[in-house]
């Protein structure tokens, strides 16, 4: 593609691509993010391409390979435009029929989504309950672009917000719009983005200011950023270009975790394409704006999501946080003024400029504006990424969009905010989701992980799990974090193995507060949250473990035994599944478990179709 030398070159290309896209040809969209590919999207793509070539369909339709659309549970899926027909869990053998129907403007009735409540087939994606109740301003863009083709992004209107502000030349206005939008950082802390930008714009500390995109999505159970980086990398670059224009920053850093190979690949491609087109580099579109980005891969350290640790890591050092002040906006990477925004925050920037700050601010609550993407996972029927307006209740997300619990159990709690967050019990599900409401309930918004838990999730085990994570991830700089998380984990381990006394709970609470008060960075200060919130809402489970040496959820191995009840018909499934050969019994005779051999691996219970395996 030819390098764009002026802003009017850009509009010429933009208009030409927009005009081309008006063609009435049907588009078959196959989402192929990490989830899609793991579920078999690659095979669908190959079948589709082969069919298109063999049957000369290439003039009659378009094929678009995109990132994740969010309904990961139903992958691999196919979406057909403009009819918006949605086909979940598509088998390769059914792909040709979908293609022919798309070409003819028809739908394949029997492959459509079935609403489990009404039992009816739903034709359009937007009428599927999972999608209907969302407000998808960021995620819907993933449907429109093939992430490795900049032409596709431009065709969908990409980089137009940037070109407009560049043309206006009005830097303060961009910051005003950002402030008016009320956007708060989507990484978890919720700092107002417009204000942060204003501080950087005013920073007088020489030249070479930095903008950083924090893509070190380390919270286990959260993958919103991965979906945006994989599915729409140019939207991040556009957000950063707007930021560079508004703040005068000249250097950009994309910090992406090592565990996201596809995101890294797509970003590298996007950066190369943007450079080739003249959207990154010196004298962008013939103006005086110069801005370029480099990609830095994280090397697997949770603490590097903390901004001062991230900056150390960008500089190639051990990622240990440091004391603030000085804040990054005063002294950041290479000592230069730096701001760090989360992936989702950057992705919101083009949306805000397109709609206008005031219009954007109409969504959400007074103190939390806009939409937020959550990764709704765990013991939930419809797992996937959901984008909802701020202020929606947990119940609407978990039961309305998520479709309620997976299997027969009842939902007990949701965990938000990752290892820094907390658990919110089912009785508080009418709580509205916003930054301040979640804090009041003892959790945090965090980056957007929302993990549903049912009666078979042990809350003490969960607290122990998070503490195990944190003790491994503590960088070790503050003594109270290093030893405090270690000691809290030991106390929790004692409880889950039946070695604890009630004094353990007092000690845990005391220690939790000490760690909270005496550590330097966010990791340590929030490390006790999983303990404190489970103690606040599920103290009875702790007591049950300690006093009666029982795990009510049937999870803690040292406190449970497996047995086979009278429902057993002797089908022998469990016997075949048992890796320890602990199950005996003949065909059509009730089986029994030898407790001396049982390794409590749960294989028998997971294969039994009759609920005949009991855990106590």
């Amino acid at each position: 593609m030819e390098r764009l030398r002026t802003i009017s070159d850009f509009w010429t290309l933009h208009n030409r691509l927009r005009a081309d896209s008006d063609s009435q040809k049907p588009v078959v969209v196959i989402p192929a993010g990490t989830c899609g590919q793991a579920s078999g999207a690659g095979e669908l793509i190959r079948v589709a391409k082969r069919e298109m070539i063999e049957n000369e369909l290439t003039d009659r339709m378009r094929l678009r390979i995109t990132g994740c659309h969010g309904f990961c549970e139903m992958e691999p899926s196919v979406l057909v435009l403009p009819t918006r027909a949605y086909y979940p869990r598509v088998k390769p053998a059914d792909m040709p029929r979908i293609l022919y129907a798309a070409v003819l403007g028809e739908v394949v009735e029997e492959l459509l989504f079935v609403d489990s409540v009404s039992g009816r087939r739903v034709e359009k994606q937007d009428d599927v309950p999972f999608f209907r109740k969302q407000r998808r301003t960021i995620l819907e863009r993933n449907e429109q672009v093939d992430p490795i083709r900049i032409g596709n992004f431009l065709e969908a209107g990409g980089y137009a917000s940037f070109a407009k502000v560049l043309e206006s030349g009005d830097r303060p206005n961009v910051i005003e719009e950002m402030k008016a939008s009320g956007l708060r950082g989507r990484g978890g802390a919720g700092f107002p983005t417009g204000l942060k930008w204003e501080m950087l714009a005013k920073a007088k500390n020489g030249t070479g200011k930095y903008l950083v995109c924090n893509g070190d999505e380390g919270d286990p159970g959260a993958y919103m950023d991965r979906a945006v980086l994989e599915g729409n990398p140019h939207s991040i670059l556009e957000g950063m270009l707007v930021g560079a224009f508004a703040t005068g920053a000249t250097h950009g850093v994309l910090y992406v975790r090592n565990e996201y190979p596809m995101a890294v690949k797509h970003l590298l491609i996007a950066v190369r394409q943007a450079r080739e087109l003249g959207l990154l580099g010196d004298g962008i579109l013939g103006t005086s704006l110069s801005f370029d980005v480099r990609l830095v891969k994280g090397a697997g350290a949770f603490v590097c999501g903390e901004e001062t640790a991230l900056m150390r890591s960008v500089e190639g050092y051990v990622g240990e946080p440091r004391q603030r002040p000085p804040f990054p906006v005063e002294r950041g990477i290479e000592g230069k003024p730096t701001i760090i925004n989360n992936v989702e925050t950057w992705a919101n920037v083009p949306v805000i400029l397109e709609q206008g700050g005031r219009e954007y601010a109409r969504i959400g609550t007074e103190k939390s504006r806009g939409t937020k993407i959550f990764s709704l996972v765990g013991k939930i029927k419809n797992t996937g990424l959901v984008e909802v307006p701020m202020g929606i209740t947990i119940d609407e997300v978990v039961n309305g969009i998520g479709g309620g619990p997976l299997g027969k159990g009842r939902l007990k709690a949701v965990q938000t905010g990752g290892p820094s967050g907390g658990c919110i019990p089912a009785r508080l599900f009418d709580l509205s989701i916003d930054y301040d409401g979640l804090v009041a309930a003892g959790s945090i918004m965090g980056s957007g992980g929302m993990i549903a838990m049912d009666e078979r999730t042990c809350m003490v085990d969960l607290a122990r799990y998070f503490m195990g994570f944190l003790k491994d991830e503590s960088c070790g700089k503050c003594f109270t974090c290093r030893k405090g998380t270690q000691r809290m984990w030991e106390l929790l381990d004692d409880i889950t193995t039946g070695k604890a006394t009630l004094a353990h709970i007092d000690l845990l609470e005391e220690l939790a507060l000490v760690v909270k008060d005496t550590t330097m960075c966010g990791l340590g200060q929030t490390a006790p949250n999983p303990v404190l919130s489970t103690l606040r809402y599920f103290r009875d489970e702790y007591v049950e473990h300690i006093v009666h040496k029982r795990c009510p959820a049937g999870v803690c191995k040292d406190l449970i035994t497996y047995s086979i009840n009278e429902k057993c018909t002797g089908c022998m499934l469990c016997g075949k599944a048992c890796p320890a050969l602990a199950i005996t019994g003949d065909k059509k005779v009730r089986h029994a478990i030898d407790h001396t051999k049982c390794i409590k691996c749960d294989a028998c219970r997971s294969v039994c179709k009759l609920d005949a395996v009991e855990v106590r």
């Binding site: 990490t34 793991a38 298109m52 900049i150 959260a222 994280g298 697997g300 350290a301 996972v377 997971s606």
Partner: protein, 280 residues
């Protein structure tokens, strides 16, 4: 161990004083771990103390100081996987392989790792082997995957090349298909190539996704090659550069509609099959 590879990595990052992590990442990609000698060379050439290099190498989980096996299995222990039974999956993998996380089997066949979250939470519990994701794992599926890893002849990837293409010159429209010298059991694609002082023929597999090829003059790895039509002698130039390595892409017309582009750099596996002329 030869340190040539390390020197070329250091050269690539010369002048960037913040590149230590990238240097170690590149070394690990090349050798699958960080050999002690490599760390000494890095310290020596970057002017950092060995203690500094060692501290970075041991702080980040991505680095390994021990050689890793032929296959690397990563069991995800993220929260979503955890509540769906990842610990049982991990225990079963450990039991079957007879090694603990972070260890490599004695026959160097498998390295077992646990990760805190792979970001594939909807598919949990997840196990990744050599970059291939296995979704919704349970203790029974573990047996199959472990057996596959221990079998030297099995390929971990289930994906194979599947689309046979017939291609022609974008200029003169002459077919490139050669029926006399099949590759992968199909007519091969015959073109002429030139690189350095050499000029000669090259035959490629016509199976999209297969990298089988035959050539008149051996092309060294990483060399960038120009492709020509053997009929009109026009150069086959793609619309843009390789998204992965930046070398010019080679374009050929696909019969049935569309364009196939392959990277002109030997060893770069980037290729695209574009069935939509409007795409850039």
């Amino acid at each position: 161990m030869s340190t040539d590879g390390i020197h070329s990595i250091l050269e690539k990052h010369a002048g960037d004083r913040f590149a230590l992590i990238s240097i170690l990442e590149d070394i690990q990609t090349k050798y699958s771990y960080l050999p002690a000698e490599a760390l000494r060379t890095v310290a020596d050439k970057t002017g950092k103390s060995l203690a500094d290099v060692y501290s970075v190498a041991t702080f980040y989980h991505a680095f390994s100081l021990k050689p890793r096996g032929k296959h690397v299995a990563s069991v995800c222990l993220g929260t979503a996987c955890h509540v769906r039974g990842a610990r049982m999956v991990a225990a079963e993998v450990e039991r079957r392989l007879g090694i603990r996380p972070g260890e490599t089997s004695k026959d160097r066949q498998v390295t077992l790792e646990t990760v805190n979250c792979l970001g594939a939470c909807a598919l949990g519990p997840v196990v990744v082997v050599d970059g291939h994701y296995y979704p919704k794992m349970d203790t029974q599926k573990v047996a199959k995957i472990v057996a596959k890893m221990q079998d030297d002849t099995a390929s971990m990837s289930s994906e194979g090349p599947t689309i046979p293409l017939k291609v022609s010159c974008p200029r003169c429209n002459h077919s490139f298909m050669n029926h006399d010298h099949p590759l992968d059991g199909l007519p091969s694609i015959h073109v002429t190539v030139s690189f350095g002082e050499h000029h000669g023929w090259l035959r490629l597999s016509s199976l999209y996704g297969s990298f089988a090829l035959e050539m008149e003059h051996p092309i060294p790895m990483d060399a960038v090659v120009q492709f020509f039509c053997p009929h009109c002698h026009g150069e086959l130039v793609g619309a843009n550069d390789c998204p992965e390595c930046g070398a010019p892409m080679i374009a050929m017309i696909v019969r049935g509609g569309g364009v196939v582009q392959i990277c002109g750099r030997r060893g770069c596996k980037s290729h695209m099959l574009d069935l939509d002329a409007a795409n850039l």
